[in-house]
C-alpha cells in the first residue's frame, strides 16, 4: 500500500509488535496527515491500542519505524516525541481520590510546566472543555462524560501537536459523545491540532477526515470515508417492512444475491453481491417499501471484517 498523504506529520513504516508468539501489530504502514482527524477502526483486540501506544512512544515496536515532526524518531527521541504528543488512554487514568484541579496540576508538573503557567493552562482548559464548576470536585464523583473531558484536558496540558485518543467515548451517552466530538473538531479545525482517534461508533468515524481499518493486527484499508464507501455504493437496499423485520431475515440470509442482511433499528438492510443488485432489488421490494441507500461506515466495517474472517477460515481449514 502506498500512502497517499502529502507532507505527513508522522510516518509509520512496517511497524510490527509481538507479544511472545502473538503478533499484535503486523507490518503496519501509514501516514498521519497534518491537522486532520485520523480515525482508527477495528474489532476488539485487532491491535488498535497496541499501534497507538507505539505511535505515542509508550511501547517499543519489535521492528519497523515511526518518524515525524521534521526528523524525530520515536525510538531515539522518545522524550522529545512525548513533549509533542498527548495521549488519552482507553482506561480512565486519573486519580479518583484527588480533586480535578489536583489531578491536572499533578500531570502538568510531570510535563515540567511551571506553577504559574500551569495555573493559567488549567483555567483555560477547564473553561474550554466546560468543566470549570468541577475543578474542586473529587474526581470519583464525576460522570463518565465529565471524566473524559478532564482526561482530555490532562492530555492537552503541554499543548501537544498530535493527540492520541484511544476510545475516548466508550460508555459515554449520546449527548456527552456529541459534546466531546465538538471539542475534538474544534482542536483540529481551529487549533490545527492533529488527532488520531479510535472509536466503535460509526457516526463518529464519519467525522474523521481519514480512516484506517485494522484487523488481526494488519492495516487492511485506508482512505477518506467517501472513498472507502465507494465499493458498496448502489448495493445497499433499505426496507421498512410493516411487520417484524426479524422474521424476514432467514429468507434474506439464504439469498445468493446478498452478501449480508441485517436489522438496522426497525429497518432491514440488504447488501447485494457485486452482480446481485437486480435480484436484491426484487427481494427488497417483496419485503416492503424499499430504496437503495448510501452505505454507512458500519457497512464498510462489517464487509471488511466478514471478508477477513472468511479468508482466515480458509487458511485454517
Amino acid at each position: 500500500m502506498t500512502p497517499a498523504v502529502v507532507d505527513p506529520l508522522v510516518q509509520v513504516r512496517e511497524v510490527t509488535r509481538k507479544f511472545g508468539a502473538f503478533v499484535a501489530a503486523d507490518r503496519v504502514s501509514f501516514d498521519v496527515p497534518r491537522g486532520q482527524i485520523f480515525g482508527f477502526l477495528g474489532p476488539n483486540g485487532s491491535g488498535k491500542s497496541t499501534t497507538i501506544r507505539m505511535l505515542a512512544g509508550l511501547l517499543a515496536p519489535t521492528s519497523g519505524t515511526v518518524t515525524g515532526f521534521g526528523g524525530l524518531d520515536v525510538a531515539k527521541d522518545t522524550e522529545r516525541w512525548k513533549q509533542r504528543t498527548g495521549y488519552m488512554s482507553q482506561k480512565f487514568s486519573l486519580y479518583v481520590d484527588l480533586t480535578v484541579a489536583e489531578n491536572l496540576r499533578f500531570f502538568g508538573s510531570i510535563y515540567g510546566l511551571s506553577r504559574s503557567a500551569l495555573k493559567d493552562r488549567v483555567g483555560e482548559l477547564a473553561s474550554r472543555l466546560k468543566f470549570e464548576p468541577l475543578l474542586s470536585s473529587m474526581t470519583r464523583t464525576l460522570s463518565t462524560g465529565q471524566r473524559q473531558r478532564v482526561a482530555l484536558a490532562a492530555a492537552l496540558l503541554h499543548e501537544p501537536e498530535l493527540l492520541f485518543l484511544d476510545e475516548p467515548t466508550g460508555g459515554v451517552d449520546p449527548r456527552g459523545r456529541r459534546m466531546f466530538w465538538d471539542l475534538i473538531y474544534d482542536l483540529a479545525a481551529v487549533r490545527k491540532m492533529t488527532v488520531l482517534v479510535t472509536t466503535h461508533y460509526m457516526d463518529e468515524a464519519e467525522q474523521c477526515d481519514r480512516l484506517a481499518f485494522i484487523l488481526n493486527g494488519k492495516l487492511i484499508a485506508e482512505g477518506e470515508p467517501g472513498d472507502l464507501k465507494q465499493g458498496l455504493r448502489g448495493r445497499i437496499f433499505e426496507v421498512s417492512p410493516s411487520g417484524d423485520p426479524f422474521t424476514l431475515l432467514p429468507a434474506a440470509q439464504q439469498s445468493g444475491a446478498l452478501e449480508d442482511a441485517y436489522l438496522f433499528g426497525i429497518r432491514l438492510r440488504l447488501v447485494a453481491t457485486h452482480d446481485g443488485t437486480a435480484d436484491a432489488a426484487r427481494l427488497a421490494d417483496s419485503f416492503g417499501p424499499s430504496q437503495t441507500t448510501e452505505p454507512t461506515l458500519e457497512d464498510v466495517f462489517v464487509s471488511l471484517a466478514r471478508r477477513q474472517a472468511a479468508a482466515t477460515d480458509k487458511v485454517q481449514s
Binding site: G42, P43, N44, G45, S46, S143, T144, G145, E167, G170, G171, V172, D173, P174, R175, G176, R177, R178, W181, D182, Y185, A189, V190, H200, M202, D203, E206, Q207, F246, T247, L249, Y262, L263, F264, G265, I266, E298, F301, V302, A305, R306
Partner: protein
C-alpha cells in the same frame, strides 16, 4: 411482568431512582435509555434482587428466574470459559450433566463452541459479552436483564449480539436492556427515558417520536462552522447538533402556521448553503435523547 410502583432508591444524599412507576409486560423487549447516572444500573440491581428499594415496591410476577448481564464483565478471568460456566452451574445447584449440555448448546449458538478451554481473561470484548450472555442464560431464565451489554463492543460483534437477543425475545423471553446506542433502542417494543432517577417518558418508538415537541431541520453542508455561527444568531433555533455528517437544527417550538423552520434556516444560510441542502426531517430517538438532556440541564 415487572411492576415498579413509586420505586425509590437513595444512596445517602443521592437519589438514584425517584418514584419510578412502570409496568413491563411479559414477552416485551424493553429498552431503558438515559445518560450516565440516570439510575439504569440501580433499577437493574433492584430487579435482580441485589439491592433493596428505599421506598416503593417492585414485583416480578410470574418470573421464576432472572438472568443478568452486568455492565462490567464479572466472570473469573483466570478460569476458562467451561470452568466459569461449570462453576455457575454448581452455584445454582443445576444438574451437572444437564448444565454441561446446556452450556455446550449456548456456546455453540453464540459461536464460542471451540473456545471452551480459553481463559475468560483472554477473550476480546465481544467474546466476553457473549460469554456473559451464556452465563446469564445457563439457568434458563424467563427474564433477561442486560445493562449496556454492547458498550465498547465493535460493530460486527454488536450486530451478532443483537441477533441473539432477537432470537431470545422471539422465543418468548422477556428482555430488559439499557443501551447508549439509539439504533439498538429502536428494536425495543417499548422504551423508557430515565434522567437523574426520574422516568421522563415511556412508550413505543412511534409514540415517543410523535410526542417530540419541536420542529427539526437537516442541513447538509461541509461548512459546519460557518453554518453554526450563522444559526447561533437565530432566535427561533435553540440547538444545532452534528449527526454523522449532517447537522440537525432544532426549533424552539413546532412549526407554526406562519413560519416553518425550513424557511427560517434557508433564509439564515442564504448564500452559504443551497436551499435543497436544507430539509425538514422527522426526529430520531437520538434527537429525543439530546432534547431530554438539554431540557433537564436547563
Amino acid at each position: 411482568m415487572i411492576i415498579a410502583d413509586k420505586l425509590t432508591r437513595r444512596f445517602e444524599s443521592v437519589v438514584a431512582l425517584q418514584e419510578m412507576t412502570l409496568t413491563i409486560e411479559s414477552g416485551e423487549m424493553f429498552a431503558l435509555i438515559g445518560p450516565d447516572g440516570a439510575g439504569k444500573t440501580t433499577f437493574f440491581r433492584i430487579v435482580n434482587g441485589l439491592l433493596k428499594p428505599t421506598s416503593g415496591t417492585l414485583s416480578t410476577e410470574g418470573h421464576r428466574t432472572v438472568g443478568f448481564v452486568p455492565q462490567r464483565f464479572s466472570l473469573y478471568p483466570d478460569l476458562s470459559i467451561d470452568e466459569n460456566l461449570a462453576l455457575r452451574a454448581r452455584l445454582y445447584d443445576l444438574d451437572a450433566n444437564k448444565a454441561r449440555a446446556r452450556a455446550a448448546e449456548l456456546l455453540n449458538r453464540v459461536g464460542l463452541g471451540r473456545f471452551g478451554a480459553r481463559l475468560a481473561g483472554n477473550l476480546s470484548g465481544g467474546m466476553k459479552q457473549k460469554l456473559a450472555l451464556c452465563s446469564a442464560l445457563l439457568t434458563t431464565p424467563d427474564l433477561l436483564l442486560l445493562d449496556e451489554p454492547t458498550t465498547g463492543v465493535d460493530p460486527l460483534s454488536r450486530r451478532e449480539f443483537w441477533m441473539m437477543l432477537h432470537q431470545l425475545h422471539h422465543d418468548g423471553l422477556t428482555v430488559v436492556v439499557s443501551t447508549p446506542y439509539m439504533d439498538e433502542a429502536e428494536y425495543a417494543t417499548r422504551l423508557g427515558f430515565l434522567h437523574e432517577g426520574r422516568l421522563l417518558d415511556v412508550g413505543t418508538r412511534a409514540e415517543i417520536l410523535n410526542r417530540y415537541p419541536r420542529a427539526l431541520v437537516e442541513v447538509r453542508s461541509p461548512e459546519r462552522f460557518a453554518v453554526r455561527a450563522r444559526l447561533a444568531q437565530v432566535a427561533d433555533i435553540d440547538d444545532v447538533s452534528l449527526f454523522g455528517t449532517v447537522l440537525h437544527v432544532r426549533g424552539r417550538q413546532r412549526d407554526s402556521a406562519n413560519a416553518s423552520l425550513v424557511d427560517i434556516v434557508r433564509r439564515a444560510l442564504d448564500g452559504l448553503v443551497p436551499a435543497h441542502a436544507v430539509s425538514a426531517i422527522r426526529p430520531s430517538l437520538e434527537d429525543v435523547f439530546v432534547l431530554h438532556g438539554d431540557e433537564e440541564a436547563a
